[in-house]
Point group: C2
Chain length 274, copies 2
């Protein structure tokens, strides 16, 4: 049995979950609500710049869990691939500047590109930026995305593929992100989580709504969908993971809410359904 969560010490929220808020409003909202940790998306960082954002975050006392997102390595020509790698190097520098120990990689896909080619370009791209990550003291996590995003967002669609890439590149600076939304359906999930072991660098939660009204922005609040989040958390913890539990919900519905009320709803769902 998974041990129940009884306080908010491991709770982290992604700035994209409360997308309408600026970073300043987010920091204020999370600290007021007693949320101890934050994952910052680059679009929320951009208006401030990494130095100013880093100062705000340090002053807030919030723990910065990760920067989202790097990745998007495949491209149709070498110049574009090099630009993608440089953008990942910039993301690593931004992470270092805001005190984030991790950059999460949404690996990318080009519609119509052969998936095997895309996957090779991803592996090559990660290999190329890993030295920069190590030099900056920032880890990278491959986040496998649901197969419904294999066309344009990520050609890495199972934890097995991500684990294979980690095994191929053999670096303590490279691991995986387990996101229940992307992986819950996979019959190999339990064994691949066990295999990932201490290369599980982060853990994301939300839920799968039935019906799903939008392929991108209709993720559910934990407990309102069909994912057995507690069980997957148990597998992740059995594998050794004890880090933050990150609430990442892309939802047109919740973005329309008062975001302070949304954070309270998240805290409630976190205790009951995670």
């Amino acid at each position: 049995m998974t041990t129940p969560l009884v306080d908010f010490s491991r709770l982290c929220i992604h700035t994209m979950t409360t997308k309408p808020w600026t970073l300043e409003e987010t920091i204020d909202g999370y600290t007021r609500a007693g949320v101890p940790a934050i994952t910052v998306w680059r679009q929320h960082l951009e208006p401030y710049g990494p130095d100013e954002a880093g100062r705000m975050l340090r002053d807030s006392g919030l723990r910065v869990v990760s920067l989202c997102r790097g990745g998007f390595f495949p491209a149709t020509n070498a110049a574009a691939r090099e630009e993608a790698r440089n953008d990942n190097r910039r993301a690593i520098d931004e992470a270092a500047a805001i005190g984030a120990p991790l950059v999460v990689l949404v690996c990318g896909a080009i519609p119509g590109m052969d998936l095997a080619d895309g996957r090779q370009q991803i592996l090559d791209g990660i290999a190329a930026v890993l030295p920069h990550a190590q030099a900056a003291g920032v880890k990278l996590a491959i986040e496998p995305l649901h197969p419904m995003y294999a066309d344009s967002r990520s050609a890495v669609n199972t934890l097995e593929q991500a684990n294979n890439m980690v095994a191929a590149l053999r670096s303590p600076w490279l691991g995986v992100t387990v996101d229940v939304y992307h992986l819950w359906w996979d019959p190999m999930l339990k064994s691949e989580i066990a295999r990932a072991a201490d290369s599980i660098f982060s853990f994301h939660v939300c839920d799968w709504r039935t019906p799903t009204r939008d392929i991108l922005n209709d993720r559910g609040m934990m407990g309102e969908g069909c994912i057995n989040i507690k069980r997957i958390r148990g597998w992740v913890e059995d594998a050794g993971f004890r880090g933050p539990i990150e609430v990442e919900i892309f939802s047109n519905e919740f973005w329309d809410w008062d975001q302070t009320r949304l954070v309270e709803r998240i805290k409630q769902a976190y205790l009951s359904a995670v």
Copy 2:
């Protein structure tokens, strides 16, 4: 290299592709267009009943490739599971009545039911109806569905799972359906198609649109999406499959078209992109 298709001898269209048409209009439309084969959905059969529909289909000269769809085995209580099995037995009888040698199984899922339980209920359900299929001379094909349907439509989401079920039940009356829409993303697809070999009972084509505007009814015309259909057809043929190529497109967009024009569009796309 996959051998180009130069005529329509292997073309089959699903009645759901031209959903606005009645079965009578469908038979008329396909024969006028020189489409030699049809897969019949039960909702198009229902207004006529299997005997009358069987007479109409025999009179038309169309080859009946399969009946869609059986399945939906998981249920929350034993009585409902038995009713699901009885409904599959009725589908088998309907297939026999219309001269369809195959019933395609969309295996089912109950939102929130443990996936392992659902998968076991599917295996048990298929095992329970297989004797009826054999007695009727009708084969059954497990169609793995895309993981985005794992919540409510099918807990069988990879060809590997379907192949494992076929291996477990060891009957010449049980095989698999390869549908490019559901399976194109899978890094194991090529090897699992080879493994399926002569248990590949049918092959469905359409395409994956970017962006996908609706999770159910926005499938693309062959060639307008990102799936390398020719390559997957090559794998299926390398595995020994030489049967009909079935066009199954659920599309709010195409259902709004004049359906005669849609059939002509399908013929064009079939020669160029399949």
